[in-house]
């Protein structure tokens, strides 16, 4: 089992984005996912910049994966997707089925992202036949549902699990950050730049609930499976995905790495730097916002 740094889901300044990957080059992550997966209007790094960064990280010994945009709306979105597929130097994570079509036509092995909605071994087998070598279950999937799929998973299929970060829950045509500022999406003035960890949404009684990140809605709670390493190993999970956040990301990676090496004090260390309250309900087959760890008897 090793660590992946997931794609940066937020919109950061060019300097901050490049600084993240400068640091990440020396972190104990085996692979790094790059690219803009949320919003095509985010342009401080364009595809050539991402490709240059990809080459740099590959030269530094990282396995690099280019992540495709999750919601494709326009011909220009497709153009970017085709350029990603045709580059061929790096593996691609397909986050919708148009990308699957282009990658399988190109004969390229690929990663099946969590928004492809693989809920059963039959669909996983379809993807394996098309060239998927690794897949991510939907973030709502429980350990037990995942175990049932893995019993019948295609041979050599690697499984990566979203193991740390605010959960990406929904995608829309509408930009909720622009809406908050009463701006049209087409003239959003890139307000996402002001919210490097998204815009927090609370209930009317002040309970934090969700996070607005442009067209993406995330959980407010921070999903963490650092306490679940034994069951993840038992399932034969090959990689854990850690989703970048703006503070302490190096420490988050170190905590997971040390925990995988057997240091049981790391869960507590991680708890002190979480950018929100911990949640892990999904893993335990409950509502995603619940925190079940330690309360289980099974």
């Amino acid at each position: 089992m090793n660590l992946s740094l997931g794609p940066l889901l937020y919109y950061w300044s060019r300097e901050d984005t490049l600084a993240l990957y400068d640091e990440a080059a020396s972190w104990p992550v085996t692979r790094i996912y790059l690219g803009e997966t949320v919003c095509s209007r985010r342009h401080l790094l364009r595809l050539p910049d991402w490709l240059e960064l990809a080459q740099k990280l590959a030269d530094a010994g990282k396995e690099v994966v280019l992540s495709s945009q999750t919601l494709i709306e326009s011909e220009s979105d497709l153009k970017t997707l085709r350029r990603i597929v045709s580059d061929k130097r790096f593996l691609v994570e397909a986050n919708e089925w148009g990308a699957v079509r282009l990658l399988s036509e190109a004969g390229a092995a690929f990663i099946a992202g969590s928004t492809l909605n693989v809920y059963n071994p039959e669909t996983l087998d379809v993807l394996a036949g098309l060239g998927a070598k690794r897949w991510l279950p939907p973030v709502e999937m429980s350990r037990d549902s995942l175990a049932a799929i893995l019993k019948q998973a295609p041979a050599d299929m690697e499984t990566e699990v979203f193991a740390y970060g605010k959960l990406p829950l929904a995608y829309s045509a509408r930009c909720f950050t622009a809406r908050h500022y009463n701006l049209p999406k087409d003239d959003c003035q890139f307000r996402c730049l002001d919210h490097p960890e998204g815009l927090s949404l609370s209930t009317r009684e002040g309970e934090t609930f969700l996070t607005l990140n442009g067209i993406q809605t995330q959980s407010a709670g921070v999903y963490s499976l650092i306490g679940e390493l034994p069951s993840l190993r038992e399932l034969g999970i090959s990689a854990l995905r850690l989703s970048p956040q703006s503070h302490h990301m190096g420490r988050v990676v170190q905590a997971f790495y040390a925990a995988m090496e057997g240091d049981i004090s790391q869960a507590a260390a991680l708890a002190r730097i979480l950018p929100g309250k911990p949640v892990d309900g999904y893993w335990h087959g409950k509502a995603g916002l619940e925190y079940a760890h330690g309360e289980e008897t099974c």
Partner: protein, 333 residues
């Protein structure tokens, strides 16, 4: 023929009502969680489905079966069994979201017509064509996220018929890509066939007003003169940076009557009316209005304007008594 009118049938009465009021096709689901309206008291057993099918076919109409949740591993045979039933009963098409289930259908029932459900989240012609090439789908229902020119671009680049939502409850999120309900309650449309399930809803009168909660999470609080709607998660009022508002979407319905001429011109195959969970009275009124509107636009698209009486009638049936063109109209985004 373009602009086939596809109406919701939560039960046999609604099915007959839709057909009697002019639906070209009805869509329905089996009992259980194989479809995205897995509500108590809703949907068909096999005998009712057979009766509905006779009723539809005797009148030259079609019946489509929604099997549009994602099959779970340990209950896989519930979904394959439903596909088998559909073929045996002679359904005109099944509406699927899951690639594995499509493969099963093609392999075992090669003559069964397949539609790609909106839950399949296909928003580009590349995605639509993927399902065409691999599973021979004949029609795709597009998620409510594309503007009309974007829809037209899909239509121009695929041989697959395109069906659009015309009226009813509005999903703000890409269908099939929304887990807000399971985050809050443990059950999502993808895995359980429900959004904001009724069993998780709580209403409470408080000194501050009537409160609606979903699994304990406060979705809204209504003042004395405010009308309380069903607490769908994405249509609650929340606080963002100290401001309380409908942060995701207002309680409103999609209504695209205004767009019918453009939809006709771009050869949209079918218009879908949302609302299998709604009453037969809703089905009757919406079907009647849309039948009249589609007939009118086909007669004379250039001079088509929705009759005020149609709009008034549809508004009465809308969530929040208001309507929107949704993403078809770019500024909504």
């Amino acid at each position: 023929m373009p602009l086939e009118l596809v109406c919701p049938a939560g039960n046999l009465i609604s099915l007959k009502t839709a057909i009697d009021n002019g639906a070209d096709a009805v869509y329905m689901g089996f009992r259980g969680n194989t479809n995205a309206r897995a509500f108590p008291g809703l949907n068909f057993d096999e005998a009712q489905a057979a009766e509905g099918l006779r009723y539809a076919h005797d009148r030259g109409r079609k019946m489509l079966l929604a099997l549009n949740t994602y099959p779970q591993t340990d209950t896989w045979t519930h979904w394959t069994g439903a596909v088998d039933s559909a073929a045996k009963l002679g359904m005109d098409a099944v509406i699927l979201a899951d690639a594995g289930l499509m493969r099963y259908a093609v392999k075992n029932h090669p003559n069964l017509r397949l539609h790609l459900s909106v839950q399949g989240s296909a928003t580009s012609y590349e995605a639509v064509n993927f399902y065409r090439e691999h599973f021979g789908i004949q029609r795709a229902v597009l998620p409510r996220v594309l503007s009309l020119p974007q829809v037209e671009n899909v239509v121009k680049n695929t041989a697959v018929e395109i069906e659009l939502f015309g009226f009813g409850g509005l999903c703000v999120m890409v269908e099939g890509r929304c887990l807000l309900s399971s985050y809050c309650t443990g059950e999502s449309p993808n895995s359980a066939g429900v959004c904001s399930p009724a069993k998780a809803v709580q209403w409470k009168e408080t000194p501050a007003g009537l409160e609606s909660r979903l699994n304990g999470v406060l979705l809204d609080r209504y003042g004395k003169d405010e009308k309380a709607g069903y607490p769908t998660l994405c249509k609650g009022r929340f606080e963002v940076s100290g401001e309380t508002y409908y942060a995701l979407e207002e309680p409103t319905s999609l209504n695209t009557l205004d767009l019918l001429p453009e939809m006709l011109k771009m050869s949209i195959a079918a218009i879908k009316i949302e609302g299998r969970q709604r009453s037969p009275a809703y089905v009757a009124q919406v079907t009647r209005v849309w039948r009249a509107a589609i007939d009118a636009v086909k007669k004379n698209a250039d001079d088509f304007t929705p009759a005020p009486v149609w709009m008034a009638e549809l508004n009465k049936l809308s969530e929040g008594q208001s309507h929107t063109l949704g993403a078809y109209y770019r500024p909504w985004k």
